[in-house]
Symmetry: C2
Subunit: 372 residues, 2 copies
Amino acid sequence: MLAAGRCNKTSKGGVPAGGMAERITISIDAMGGDAGPEMVIPGAEIALTRHPGVHFILFGDEEVVLPVLEKHPRLAAASEFRHCDITVRMDDKPSQALRQGRWRSSMWRAIEAVKTGEADVCVSAGNTGALMAMSKFCLRTMANIERPAIAGIWPTLRGESVALDLGATIGADAQQLIDFAMMGGAMTRPVRYRPPDRRPAEHRRRGGQGLEEVRTAGRILREADLPSLDYRGFVEGDDIGKGVVDVVVTEGFAGNIALKTAEGTAKQFAALLRAAMERTVMARIGYLFARTAFTALKAKMDPRRANGGVFLGLNGIVIKSHGGTDAEGFAAAVDLGFDMVRNDLQAKIAADLSLYHRAGFRPDAASEAGNK
Amino acid sequence: MLAAGRCNKTSKGGVPAGGMAERITISIDAMGGDAGPEMVIPGAEIALTRHPGVHFILFGDEEVVLPVLEKHPRLAAASEFRHCDITVRMDDKPSQALRQGRWRSSMWRAIEAVKTGEADVCVSAGNTGALMAMSKFCLRTMANIERPAIAGIWPTLRGESVALDLGATIGADAQQLIDFAMMGGAMTRPVRYRPPDRRPAEHRRRGGQGLEEVRTAGRILREADLPSLDYRGFVEGDDIGKGVVDVVVTEGFAGNIALKTAEGTAKQFAALLRAAMERTVMARIGYLFARTAFTALKAKMDPRRANGGVFLGLNGIVIKSHGGTDAEGFAAAVDLGFDMVRNDLQAKIAADLSLYHRAGFRPDAASEAGNK
């Protein structure tokens, strides 16, 4: 994996110095997620209370969205609603979703609003495959980027790191891994607001062996020595949680496995802790005394806080929320979208990519140079 | 990933009905691990107290091993010591270890004792790459097995599962994944002593996509419908901790990442819990009341309990202990080796493989059949 820059997601204080920033508009696929508008609408309202200036464009079926929206007058006042006939289902295959939902579904139109410039970012809790397929089709990849990636915020002992690719595609060649490193690195800057000279990037490695493409990507990043990226070499899976680096890069299959396994282990630990605290009378008394501490711990380990995957490498920002999350979790995904826009993610990625490509570093060129 | 059969490691009660089993001999690389004999010798003695009939053959440098062994007379009485000139270092590359340590190192000779039949299983805390390279070179792979795998016991909410490959090699084709499933399945039977008709095997999958070889392996396992393996399809990383299946199969790169990430997350959770319990006076009081519960939880989450990777697919059993573990952890690895021998792992694997190969299922044959 490749990693770049310790980061703390700060929704507050992100306004650039020099006064009021422009109003941010967020397009929302109101039909996404297991619970649909019942979860999305209250979620957007929670985010609105944290970012009062934000404007929303909500896309969905008026018959189900409007009754829910009526109960949230504050969000209604800050939103514009647009009816869509089609809803992409959570189990639709990407090809199916594209065939049936292109141009007309709430998911498509929420993404399209970013393309047309009406919205700055799109947030959807709809199914990942469909959302990625539609985002690629509608927004297209950025110049010099072959494949988009999904990046997530990974809670660590030191704060938060960025991890990618969490499952946009399977496999990645050296150039794609380098692209992931640069895009993830750019993402930590908005997230962390810190000078660009301390931004480690690391590559996951195992034992004495190594994947050829990972090694090549690592060598090039070291040689390229980009001002925006402090490349730190390889990390192992158990280093992610320690927060030893700010960005961890790997191809999507391994990244997705790492993410899911970490989620599973955290749930397992929480379940064991709960069971332990309920087993004896003494433990229950202890729990009562330490309740505040447990509540704080629970909040810290709350998977909803880390909800939201950023689609990187497209001509526009799309945030994927977990489909099974609740309003609080969806609000975190909206917060993440807000942060990415406020901190000019797209411009930072474009600047880093252009710097790299002007320097002429490519896996082929580097290996030729290496063989001389 | 492929998975097969819920399992509880039971070191007790494993003696086959009908009286005294044959004496088990375990060869130990006394020089392995970060702490070497200081950790290995007391570890073997702990295992001996749990399996009083076991005989050990200890390999190592007499100058460092004998002084430690003198302090453990009980182990000394149950052991035979053999001096070796060469010690494989923890950072030796596999090729280096083979070149310098073949025939003469404590690691080699401990493995060789299994080959000659003097020992039933070898346990080493030495470096993984060297141990695997020497094991392959010395023991060779079983008939019909192309690549060995490393299998581990994965603690779950329901007990324990077997996960493989945890990093013997990178990548795996369909046939290798099938081999992993069969070997892992055979391993759960010794571990659990239960009738062979409820042994789910599952294959990890991500989203709507899938690796071709994983799909092929899944299809063949379903078609083969082996009596020893109840194939359950694909699982995701967060299912491992739930223990929904007994065996989880994946190629080594992803498996190693899953393992390390789970370890990292568990450590992260433990650190946060510790910090939370120390932060306020009330929390400290609560901790005192619930101390027994915390101790039980700690024991349950103790990574030392799950120490020990089984090298599967070789003509003999080799157990790899974590190099950084302590005596208690090393004892768990010895226990695991004991269990594998006592429950006839090798014979079970051979029987399952022969059943499969007699049925004529091969990825190529199956895909031809599928195309008709």
